[in-house]
């Protein structure tokens, strides 16, 4: 059995005291331990941002890539070695701003990734600019008169893109969050985990209390049905007085991207021999004659 502490790296987190990332970090370690995964079986790919430093603080294979490019890097790694549990973990600016295109394409690709967004509705590491999930009117250094755009609705966007697993967690409820992450890991295919993550330093609006007053768990609703897409879309659009958490949508049995690639039938690419027999290559020459 693996344990949470197996996932502790020698580097201690540098997040602000009270930052929601601490809860996410714990929930993730908890989920990995509960699923009895070992550090070497997991690859954490992140981008750049406060939350994206998570791999540095976690004992597991890790790759902190570029701001906004978390998902394609994770995708490449997964295609190269689909025996690994590949988890993307990045901020809302990273994933829904710069990375919006990759997000939608990954969702419709149904590549077997867990895609965790540390959604603090702000840019943390660059000290407080509004993010794609900041609410209309949000005041920040780059929106001194209030953000004009409608906020991204990540869950609805994933649904529209054809995602097979769409969920949300709350950093302050690491137990529940850990269960959501576990389900996402177990899900075969693309799994979105949007996480409400208070940024105590730069987001003075969407605070712990702000979220706490609003979040509810979709599984507690009487008519909960995560397989109904239209219903899920309605829930996914909810934002305001009530903010849904939990697994909002899941459809099982859809083959994942890597399961449909002929070249991967023989197992993970990285385990396949580097070269084929010379006869096979020799035969290619005939095409040119």
């Amino acid at each position: 059995m693996s344990e949470m502490k197996d996932f502790l790296s020698p580097v201690r987190p540098t997040w602000c005291p009270g930052c929601g990332n601490h809860g996410i970090w714990n929930a993730l370690k908890m989920a990995l331990a509960d699923l009895d995964l070992s550090p070497h079986e997991v690859l954490l790919v992140s981008g750049i941002g406060c939350g994206s430093k998570l791999p540095d603080y976690t004992r597991a294979n890790g790759y902190q890539s570029l701001h906004g490019r978390t998902v394609p890097v994770a995708t490449g790694a997964k295609l190269a070695n689909h025996a690994l549990t590949v988890i993307a973990v990045h901020g809302d600016g990273d994933g829904y701003g710069m990375g919006m295109g990759h997000f939608v394409h990954a969702a419709r690709r149904n590549i077997d990734l867990v895609d965790i967004h540390q959604d603090n509705q702000i840019y943390g590491l660059t000290k407080g600019q509004y993010s794609p999930t900041s609410d209309h009117g949000f005041l920040s250094k780059t929106s001194p008169e209030g953000a004009i755009e409608t906020a991204v609705r990540p869950l609805a966007t994933a649904l529209a893109a054809g995602a097979t697993f769409v969920s949300r967690g709350f950093a302050l409820d690491p137990k529940h969050l850990s269960r959501v992450i576990q389900k996402a890991i177990q899900h075969k295919g693309y799994a979105l985990v949007d996480i409400l993550q208070p940024c105590v330093t730069f987001n003075k609006v969407n605070t712990y209390d702000w979220y706490k007053e609003r979040v509810y768990k979709v599984e507690d609703e009487d008519d909960y049905d995560p397989t109904n897409r239209e219903r899920a879309f309605r829930i996914a659009c909810e934002w305001g007085d009530r903010i849904p958490t939990g697994v909002v949508y899941q459809v099982e049995g859809v083959p994942s991207y890597e399961d449909q690639i002929p070249a991967l039938e023989a197992g993970p690419l990285v385990k396949q021999p580097l070269q084929r027999s010379m006869e096979e290559y020799e035969a290619l020459k005939e095409e040119f004659v």
């Binding site: 550090p39 190269a80 070695n81 025996a83 690419l269 020799e282 040119f288 004659v289």
Partner: protein, 581 residues
């Protein structure tokens, strides 16, 4: 009578099958033991617009097309008006008998007209006008009295998938046109082709040669976004992916392409991205990611004229300095710039070895002329048994098993190369980052570590420099003029040098094939030892000349530059040489 030394030109509108007919004809010639060099010229549009395909055929191996053309196959009137200029005296034009041609200019130049009822024959013998191109090929073979069975064998192969009936009809059309042309016109035409006894050679372009080299070298992951002229590498890989166990991904954009390749490279798979300059521009940021995390990745960039969209389907060598300096900050990279189809293949093999050995991005810089031009090559010019895989300091499972201490991904070593573990082994779990990091891969802002890490990374280039092939000198050791070039310019320039040297040691040619780390000593010495140096490049600024001055301080004032989107030819170079004198 001139045998086995001539050029064909097939011209027509986009969508008329100019390229496929031309490629078929080229194969038919190669199957007769002849050497060919074929190039295409087409517009960035799908229909209309004048396209042409030019095949030079010879008994010896040839390295470029020539301006002079001996036989034109005109699918449109436009072809006649556009290419008469290029015809040699005694040359001929095959065209549909229905077309009316003003013969004045042709007369002056002693040009033969070979009207053939192409459409009519296609309909009569094949039952459909689409076979007009087949008729044209048959007619061409007839005029030059080439063996029709080579054309027939190509028809059989090309139409195999379409069934026996289609094959038969095409054969009939080709045969009829062949007989017609041979009967009516062969006597008037002095240029002839005869099969020779030689093994059938491959007819292959630079992109396919590169792809083949990459495949043999164990490339298993190709991510790309279509962009002319890089696309055909992606497509070849996609087509052969299932058979060769290669994963290809047509991505949402070039940024995703290189990021996926970096992810795959990090996970331990040989990975690459084929693209062109515009696509590469989008990869600049991630190039530095590979540099910083020391991830092997191969970037294949086939140049086309810029800036921006420029000429999508034409050729240029305008991206050299960009390739050498792309991305913020400083990190080691290797740049190979193959000059011939063979070297494209070699670059495919070598790039992946270098990428893993030096744990850095490797750029293979080609261009449209090299990417798309076909040449005949003997099978043994791609000797797969010579391919040696070198993964460098790559930790095996056993190595990892024996690790006693915490694994240092970026251990400081004398060579700068740190033994590399890939994700998946319990004894070598590590995390890395695009931030500056310590030996373990953890973020640190320590100044001392920074200096050591920069030194370590850059030091890798010292050993890499020893792995680079020195520039090649073609021609006599001493000569009146030394040309310097890179990339596809080599082919036409080599031919120009041969012509110059027909009477004496007038010229030689220094070609830089491995561009970075730059071979500064050998280039500097050669320049110093030369009487007169002329750079020949397909760009505006003389980028290689600038690079040479940057790396050696040597000024090369004489420059033959071309940037109109068209490739060099031997005649063009000689003409410019004359004008400069």
């Amino acid at each position: 009578m001139v045998t086995n030394d001539m050029s064909f030109l097939i011209g027509g509108d986009a969508g008329q099958g100019v390229e496929s007919s031309g490629a078929g004809f080229a194969k038919a010639l190669a199957r007769g033991g002849l050497h060919i060099f074929a190039m295409q010229d087409y517009h960035s549009r799908i229909r209309g617009g004048h396209n042409f395909f030019q095949i030079r055929v010879n008994k010896r191996s040839v390295h470029s097309h020539t301006e002079a053309v001996h036989l034109v196959l005109a699918l449109t009137e436009d072809t006649i008006s556009k290419h008469t200029e290029s015809l040699v005296p005694g040359g001929g034009i095959i065209y549909d008998a229905e077309v009316e041609v003003t013969e004045k200019e042709l007369d002056e130049k002693d040009i033969r007209l070979f009207p053939v009822p192409l459409s009519k024959m296609a309909q009569e013998h094949g039952g459909a006008e689409v076979m007009r191109n087949t008729a044209a090929l048959g007619a061409a073979a007839g005029v030059v009295e080439y063996e029709i069975d080579r054309i027939e064998s190509v028809i059989r192969d090309n139409f195999r998938k379409k069934g026996e009936a289609v094959i038969e009809n095409n054969l009939k059309v080709a045969g009829a046109a062949y007989r017609f042309a041979r009967e009516h016109y062969a006597a008037e035409f002095e240029f002839k082709l005869k099969t020779v006894d030689a093994p059938a050679r491959m007819v292959i372009n630079g992109n396919h040669a590169f792809a083949l080299g990459a495949a043999v070298s164990g490339c298993k992951f190709v991510a790309g976004y279509p962009m002319t002229p890089g696309t055909s590498v992606l497509i070849w890989m996609a087509t052969h992916g299932k058979r060769l166990g290669i994963v290809t991904k047509h991505t949402e954009d070039e940024i995703a392409a290189i990021c996926m390749a970096i992810g795959a490279g990090h996970a331990g798979v040989r990975a690459m991205v084929p693209t062109s300059g515009g696509g590469f521009a989008l990869m600049a940021e991630a190039l530095g990611l590979a540099g910083m995390t020391e991830t092997p990745v191969v970037i294949f960039e086939a140049q086309r004229p810029g800036p921006s969209t420029g000429f999508a389907t034409r050729t240029e060598q305008g991206d050299l300095l960009f390739m050498l300096h792309a991305s913020q900050g400083e990190f080691p990279r290797i740049v190979l710039s193959p000059c011939t189809v063979e070297q494209c293949y070699q670059a495919g093999v070598r790039a992946f070895n270098f990428a893993e050995k030096y744990q850095c991005p490797v750029i293979v810089l080609s261009d449209n002329y090299l990417a798309n031009s076909l040449r005949t090559l003997d099978h043994d010019q791609f000797d797969f048994n010579q391919v040696a895989i070198d993964r460098g300091a790559f930790l095996t499972d056993e190595d990892m098993e024996n690790l006693s201490d915490a694994y240092k991904r970026y251990a400081f070593t004398e060579s700068g190369i740190s033994p590399r573990a890939i994700a998946g082994h319990p004894k070598a779990v590590y995390s890395t980052t695009s931030d500056e990091h310590d030996e373990y891969g953890h973020i640190t802002e320590d100044a001392g570590n920074r200096v050591k890490m920069m030194d370590k990374r850059m030091r890798k280039l010292e050993e890499a420099a020893r792995d680079m092939q020195p520039p090649e000198l073609y021609g006599p050791h001493r000569a009146d003029v030394t040309f310097i070039c890179w990339g596809s310019t080599y082919g036409p320039l080599r031919e120009a040098v041969d012509i110059l040297n027909e009477d004496g040691d007038r010229a030689n040619l220094l070609t830089i094939m491995d561009m970075w780390p730059f071979p500064k000593d050998s280039v500097g010495q050669r320049i110093d030892a030369s009487k007169r140096v002329i750079i020949v490049e397909g760009n505006y600024a003389g980028q290689l000349a600038e690079l040479i001055r940057m790396c050696t301080g040597r000024e090369i004032e004489e420059r033959i530059l071309r940037f109109d989107g068209r490739p060099f030819s031997p005649e063009y170079i000689l003409q410019r040489l004359k004008e400069g004198e």
